[in-house]
């Protein structure tokens, strides 16, 4: 980056005034150091958290989705899917799968949030301030990951109430949660990109549903793919949600982990590698 070599009409007098206000952490060319960047992200995380405090309804999805889905699938569909009387076993099958799904549903909210933010002047303020523009997006993701953790916590509590038992170790459980978080974070970039591209929050939501429904139900989350027709099975085999659900299942109740976890991680890396640069670029160029 070029340093101050360009002609500076009157800059001699004005620049020191401004320089005096900035902390010494900044280098001469205005690059933002790591510590400053973390502080900015911290301030923006605080902002997003305070927004939730002011608008508690925005937590409804996190609080009720795990409750509604566990009750609905265990008691309403559980008997039909797993056989009457087998609901107890079905909880063990379902909860790891729902954990995978939570990430996806919460990631969707990021897109509508970003879209809303851009309608407000505050984004202009952020973008005209000496902070890395990506810090606004990263802060959003940090807060959404926090929301996801709460949702997973409630889901696990519901699972335990309904008779789920962890057959592996606490470490395995944490690994399952971590894997869900990694995949969820990668999905958030897709929705941020959608949020920056589409015109309205409603459009983002509509678009998200189109992507969400087939992935969600054409997976091993709710039912064993072995019971599905062949063509659908080949879809579920590659569906990242199936793989994440299978990996979480393996980590929580035992079973193969290596293959589905690897597929999930490949998907996460691929999605992030493609959508993050696009989203950051879009964010920079947004006018």
């Amino acid at each position: 980056m070029s340093t101050v070599t360009t002609s500076k009409p009157g800059g001699g007098a004005a620049a020191p005034v401004a320089a005096a206000t900035a902390a010494a952490v900044r280098t001469e060319d205005g690059r933002i150091g790591l510590r400053a960047n973390l502080r900015h992200i911290g301030a923006l995380v605080r902002r997003n958290t305070l927004q939730i405090k002011q608008d508690p309804e925005s937590m409804f999805d996190v609080l009720f989705m795990p409750i509604v889905f566990t009750l609905l699938f265990v008691y309403v569909f559980g008997g039909a899917i797993a056989g009457k009387g087998n609901q107890g076993d079905y909880v063990n099958y379902l909860v790891p799968g729902l954990m995978a799904m939570m990430g996806m549903n919460i990631a969707m909210a990021v897109g509508t949030g970003v879209n809303d933010d851009f309608k407000k002047g505050v984004m202009d303020r952020f973008r005209s301030m000496p902070i890395a523009r990506s810090s606004v997006l990263i802060a959003k993701i940090v807060v959404e990951l926090g929301r996801m953790m709460i949702a997973i916590g409630i889901l696990l509590i519901m699972g335990f109430i309904l008779g789920m038992s962890i057959k592996t170790s606490v470490l395995d459980l944490l690994l399952a949660i971590g894997l869900s978080a990694v995949f969820g974070a990668s999905l958030m970039w897709i929705f941020i990109l959608l949020g920056l591209t589409l015109n309205s929050a409603q459009a983002v939501q509509g678009m998200a549903m189109v992507v969400l429904m087939p992935l969600q139900f054409g997976s091993s989350i709710f039912a064993k793919p072995a019971t599905m027709p062949g063509w659908l099975q080949s879809f579920t085999d590659y569906n990242p949600l199936s793989n994440l659900a299978d990996a979480a299942r393996g980590l929580m109740i035992g079973g193969p982990v290596g293959h589905p976890a690897t597929v999930t991680l490949i998907w996460s890396v691929a999605i992030t590698a493609v959508t993050m640069p696009l989203a950051v670029r879009k964010f920079r160029q947004k006018t």
Binding site: S2, V4, T6, S7, K8, P9, G10, G11, G12, A13, A14, A15, V17, A18, A19, A20, T21, A22, A23, V25, R26, D29, G30, R31, I32, A36, R39, H40, G42, A43, L44, R46, R47, L50, Q51, Q54, D55, K120, G121, V122, D124, R125, F126, R127, S128, M129, P130, I131, T287
Partner: protein, 343 residues
């Protein structure tokens, strides 16, 4: 590039805080900025006057690094808007047309957050937030979410937010659009106070009155082009400034009144005009002293006056008199005469 539209022949004094040359920004077919030149000297207020869609907001967005111009150069506090955006962002404050604060956060939280983003310590950010809340009379509402603020309070919070980093240059994009007159005056007072503290201000507005109140120099833009620029007084002289409307009790007094003013040299360059269908005399007014003298003279001559009042030319009238497109407008005043009047 020679600026044909400048009305002052003296070179500007003092270093430039903002220097814009040939700035161009097109959105498809729309030429939002079509080669704009302007200067703002340090510690002064430049008013950018223009109707909706003239390119005012695009100009501010270019100068605050939100939009990258297609062509031309712009320096703010010595930094190039295209090549040195990071340094530039440290020297500017922006108050947009729409309140640029987080509506869900309280006033204090908004200011604290911006302080932290500007690398103040937690303690300093808190102190600065309280200081600015106090200064902008928002202490009582400090804990309320900004969404519950009135229009004027929001605008004040917005100004406070722009002031946290002690910017050298402040952009105010239509700061009083949509505000009632009382609130508008409050915002004006705050802007004047900032200027007295040495902040350079670039102000966009649709109102001649606002430009006259706050700005020392004026650039008039239309369709992305500068159509006039210069000192406010000079432009006022060109467009006629205020007009005094005098309605005598008897319409037959009108010619006598006009003659008296003309003999006393109190009717300005363009001269007073009789609008007989309305029964009023229109006198161009350039200063409060002239106004006092005109009223004093008419009273001394014993004319019975039924009504009088001054009005400012509307933006339309300003435009028409600058571009000379209005058939009824007096012939544009030659530059030499303008100088004599302004002197």
């Amino acid at each position: 590039m020679v600026d044909m539209t400048r009305t002052d022949n003296n070179p500007p004094q003092g270093p430039l805080a903002v220097e814009v040359r040939g700035l161009v920004k097109h959105y498809g077919e729309t030429k939002a900025l079509d080669g704009v030149d302007l200067d703002v000297r340090e510690g002064t207020v430049l008013g950018v006057l223009g109707p909706n869609g003239a390119g005012k907001t695009t100009l501010v967005r270019c100068l605050s690094t939100l939009v990258i111009p297609d062509a031309g150069t712009a320096f703010v506090a010595g930094y190039d808007v295209v090549r040195q955006p990071r340094q530039l962002r440290r020297t500017i404050g922006l108050t947009g047309q729409y309140a640029s604060v987080d509506e869900k956060l309280s006033g204090r939280e908004n200011l604290y957050m911006i302080g932290r983003l500007l690398d103040l310590s937690r303690k300093d950010a808190r102190t600065r937030a309280d200081e600015l809340l106090e200064r902008f009379s928002l202490t009582d509402a400090a804990k309320k979410a900004a969404m519950h603020y009135s229009g004027g309070m929001r605008r004040r919070l917005d100004l406070a937010a722009s002031m946290i980093g002690h910017p050298a240059v402040l952009y105010l994009d239509e700061p009083t659009t949509g505000l009632d007159p009382r609130t508008r005056n409050e915002v004006w007072d705050e802007v004047q106070r900032m200027v007295s503290e040495g902040v350079t201000v670039l102000l966009t507005t649709q109102y001649m009155e606002e430009a006259e109140q706050l700005a020392s120099e004026l650039t008039v833009i239309d369709k992305g082009k500068v159509i006039a620029s210069g000192k406010v007084d000079e432009l006022k002289a060109r467009v006629g400034g205020r007009t005094l409307k005098v309605r005598p009790v008897s319409v037959s007094d009108l010619p006598g009144m006009a003659r008296s003013l003309s003999e006393a040299g109190l009717d300005g360059v363009a001269g007073s005009q009789i609008a007989s269908e309305e029964g009023v005399l229109l006198v161009p007014i350039l200063s409060d002293e002239q106004l006092t003298a005109v009223v004093g003279l008419l009273a001394a001559r014993g004319y019975a006056i039924a009504d009088l009042g001054t009005y400012l030319p509307s933006l339309d009238e300003v435009f028409l008199s600058i571009t000379g497109q209005k058939p009824s407008a007096p012939d544009s005043v030659p530059a030499q005469q303008t100088e004599e009047v302004a002197a």
